[in-house]
Symmetry: C2
Subunit: 73 residues, 2 copies
């Protein structure tokens, strides 16, 4: 993976929300990478559902069903 | 969950990376919500590992092991 779409600043805030006092920059980058990989996996599943329904637009219900499917595996 | 830390613009870009032509704004919001929930889950596990190692700082190895653990369940 080259450039990440998810920035590290929101990752730091997520870790704070989870109760962390401090988060290294490399840890924030790692979390962004992991969430990006999961996000792309979900988006690919969602695209399959949209295409199967004869749509070119991914809708929120595609994301919902794709999330259940992607996280089951 | 109130305000999301992850913005919708990067979610649109993730879906494009996954091959989607169009993504509704609600779908981008849903994807941000899902990734935020997974991110907080991983961060909480990572904090447990950091604390167990006597650290207050989450490091990238904590994120790595927490990801494996969080996605197994």
């Amino acid at each position: 993976m080259t450039k990440l779409e998810i920035a590290t600043a929101p990752m730091h805030r997520l870790c704070k929300k989870a109760g962390a006092e401090r988060v290294s920059e490399k840890a924030a980058q790692e979390l962004a990478k992991v969430l990006e990989e999961i996000g792309i996996k979900i988006a690919k599943e969602a695209l399959d559902f949209a295409t199967h329904s004869g749509r070119k637009t991914i809708k929120s219900e595609d994301i919902e069903i794709a999330t259940r499917k992607a996280l089951e595996k």
